[in-house]
Symmetry: C2
Subunit: 193 residues, 2 copies
């Protein structure tokens, strides 16, 4: 997605070789027009697959998931929570998610009421790095008996291997900007898209 | 807002006298069409005030804040984070927020880069209870030298006193559904709106 890549080049900042900071437009301050265009692009890519629900993880996946759900005809959006809130009084599905950046393991949870065998779910997230977050969402879909139509990631850091790992599990992965290297503060994109 | 109140009556669940569970449409699963209408209502209420930025707290404020930012002409949306991420390498403003439900005190943070004296900020949140979260956002606006146009809350639990406390600080507070009691599992609305 050209507009996205241009924006990453203009406003993205490399923090070492592993972290790309895009908090001026994607995950702290949000450029609403860009995020809407991102949602429309995911809706176009995953059209005709019978997707009836969007699943993401709080917090930075939420604006993108909302824009995608809106572009797919106002289908419901569910966001997995990083801790089970006191109001989650019924059963829930959970999955472990490791964070390589923080060196932690957490659980993400989704209420049993909002995902089930009748659902065809599209996973949405801002970043695809090692694939841990998306892997957790995929596990929740499996536990719920829901079908998963694929993962839409805004920015993929290909060299961290997440897309490869998820595709090996049979998941369709579509990333709007694929980064092959952040070496020496230079953002290099895969040229095929 | 009638459509909202009807939905709360239809799908809201009382958990004791203090907690209203609306996770089927507002803060776990999201009804995108309803949230868009909520955003349009806030845009109507706060029109003509020169608002140029929306500020909320992760995570459940984000869809509503996004819808409001979109309805106000795609102005930027900033969400305060509950922990400073490793990528927040520049300065940030922070404020203490107490949670009465969880019995905890946390800090919310906003990067100095995304709020400043040039901003007229509209605060948006899903719930207004004791007013702690909104109070924290108001404090961040003050630290940043930004003007605050008011708070738009989707559901206010009036008997917990947050709106009164915030108005005493000079903040304009507009809630789309004002609840006066959750006693005996019955949701009672203020009748004046």
């Amino acid at each position: 997605m050209e507009a996205l890549k241009e924006r990453i080049i203009k406003d993205g900042k490399c923090l070492g070789e592993d972290v790309l900071k895009v908090d001026s437009f994607l995950n702290h301050q949000i450029d609403v027009a860009l995020v809407r265009a991102i949602g429309e692009e995911f809706a176009r890519i995953f059209a005709g697959q019978g997707v009836n629900k969007i699943l993401t993880i709080e917090a930075s996946g939420i604006p993108i998931a909302y824009a995608t759900a809106a572009a797919m005809g106002n289908i419901p959006l569910v966001f997995a929570k990083k801790t089970a809130p006191s109001t989650m009084t019924d059963g829930f599905y959970s999955a472990e998610v490791r964070s390589f950046t923080k060196g932690t393991v957490s659980h993400v949870v989704v209420s049993e009421k909002y995902i089930g065998p009748e659902d065809k779910v599209l996973l949405i997230d801002d970043f695809l790095a090692h694939g841990e977050a998306a892997g957790g969402l995929l596990e929740i879909c499996a536990k719920a008996g829901a079908e998963c139509a694929g993962l839409g990631a805004v920015i993929e850091k290909k060299y961290q291997g997440g897309a490869e790992r998820l595709r090996a599990k049979g998941l369709r992965v579509e990333s709007l900007a694929v980064i092959t290297s952040l070496k020496d503060g230079h953002i290099e994109f895969e040229q095929t898209r």
